[in-house]
C-alpha cells in the first residue's frame, strides 16, 4: 500500500463537505440555514477547484458566489420574510417522488462517469511528477483576446464583452424590477 496521496485526501475532504452541505441545503427547511449551508458547500467546491488547478476560478467562486450572490440572497430573505422564520412544508409525496427521480439520475450519471476508462484518473507516478502551472495569466490573456496556450484559437474578448454588457443590463433591469412601487394614493397626491 502506497503512501497517502494528499490531493486525493483533500479531494475527498472537500467533496465530502460540498456534498454534505448540498444535502443539508436540500433537507433544511429554514431558508437562512439553507443559505448558510449553501455558502459552505460553495466554499468547499471552490476548494475542489483549487485542487483541480483552477485557482483563479476558485477565487472567483469565493469572491462572487460566496461574497456577492449569497449576500443578495440573504438580503432577499430579510425583505421577504413575513414571519421571523419562513417555513414552508413540502408534501411528503413530493419528497418521495423527488428522491426517486433524483436517485435514478444520480445513478445514471455516476454509472456513466465511471464507465469511461479515460476519466478514472492518472497514475500515481505521473501525479507525483506534476508541477502546477499557474493559470491566471493565460486566463487574463484569453479574456483579452490572445491565447497563450494555443495561439491558433480565438480568444474570449467578444464573449467577455458580451457578458460584461449583459451584466450591466441585468443589474439595471433588476434595479428597475425591484424598485419600490409608489402606492396609488401617493400618485394621486402628486
Amino acid at each position: 500500500m502506497d503512501s497517502i496521496y494528499w490531493p486525493t485526501f483533500f479531494f475527498y475532504l472537500f467533496s465530502g463537505l460540498a456534498c454534505a452541505f448540498a444535502v443539508a441545503v436540500l433537507l433544511s427547511s429554514n431558508i437562512v440555514r439553507m443559505a448558510f449551508y449553501l455558502v459552505l458547500s460553495l466554499g468547499a467546491t471552490a476548494g475542489l477547484m483549487f485542487l483541480a488547478g483552477a485557482e483563479f476560478v476558485g477565487a472567483m467562486q469565493l469572491l462572487i458566489y460566496v461574497g456577492g450572490t449569497l449576500v443578495l440572497l440573504i438580503f432577499g430573505v430579510m425583505l421577504t420574510s413575513q414571519e421571523r422564520f419562513v417555513v414552508m412544508k413540502t408534501w411528503a409525496g413530493d419528497w418521495v417522488k423527488a428522491f426517486l427521480a433524483g436517485g435514478a439520475l444520480l445513478f445514471i450519471l455516476a454509472y456513466a462517469a465511471f464507465s469511461i476508462p479515460e476519466w478514472r484518473g492518472i497514475e500515481r507516478t505521473e501525479a507525483d511528477a506534476i508541477v502546477a502551472q499557474p493559470t491566471v495569466t493565460p486566463i487574463a490573456m484569453g479574456l483579452l483576446g490572445a491565447r497563450t496556450d494555443d495561439p491558433s484559437r480565438a480568444g474570449y474578448l467578444l464573449p467577455f464583452e458580451i457578458v460584461s454588457v449583459h451584466l450591466l443590463v441585468v443589474l439595471i433591469g433588476a434595479a428597475y424590477l425591484a424598485r419600490a412601487k409608489r402606492s396609488r394614493s401617493s400618485i394621486e397626491k402628486i
Binding site: Q61, T69, L72, F99, E118, R120, G121
Partner: protein, 119 residues
C-alpha cells in the same frame, strides 16, 4: 492480484469521474431543491447548486491533471466556468428582483401560489 477497491483509495489520484460524480451530486441536490422547495429563494439556491455542479464539471474537464489520456478542454473549461459564475450572479440579481415583485404581489414567496399559468 485482486485489490480491494477502497484499499488504495487515498493513495491513487482522483480522475474526472470523481469530479463528475461530485458535480452530479451537487446538481441533483440542486435539482431536488428546486423540485421540493416551496420558497422561491429555496428554488433560487437550488439553481445556484445546479450551476455550481455544472461549473465543477467544467473545471474538471478543463483540468490537465485528471485524465489519463492527456486530453482536456484546457483553458476553455475554466473560462466557461468563469462565464457561468458571472452569469449566475446576473441571474441571481434578476431572480431576486422577480422574487421581490412576486412578494409585493402575493405577500408570499411560495412558488406554489404562482400557478396563474395553470392549464
Amino acid at each position: 492480484m485482486f485489490n480491494f477497491p477502497l484499499a488504495n483509495l487515498l493513495s491513487e489520484p482522483v480522475g474526472v469521474a470523481h469530479y463528475v460524480t461530485v458535480g452530479a451530486i451537487l446538481f441533483i441536490c440542486g435539482a431536488l431543491c428546486m423540485a421540493t422547495k416551496r420558497n422561491a429563494l429555496g428554488v433560487l439556491m437550488g439553481i445556484e447548486l445546479v450551476l455550481n455542479g455544472a461549473n465543477l464539471n467544467f473545471v474538471a474537464f478543463g483540468s490537465q491533471y485528471l485524465r489519463n489520456d492527456g486530453h482536456s478542454l484546457g483553458l476553455d473549461g475554466q473560462l466557461m466556468a468563469l462565464f457561468v459564475i458571472v452569469l449566475a450572479a446576473a441571474e441571481a440579481a434578476v431572480a431576486l428582483a422577480i422574487a421581490l415583485n412576486f412578494y409585493n404581489n402575493h405577500d408570499s414567496i411560495d412558488v406554489d401560489r404562482a400557478d396563474q399559468l395553470r392549464g
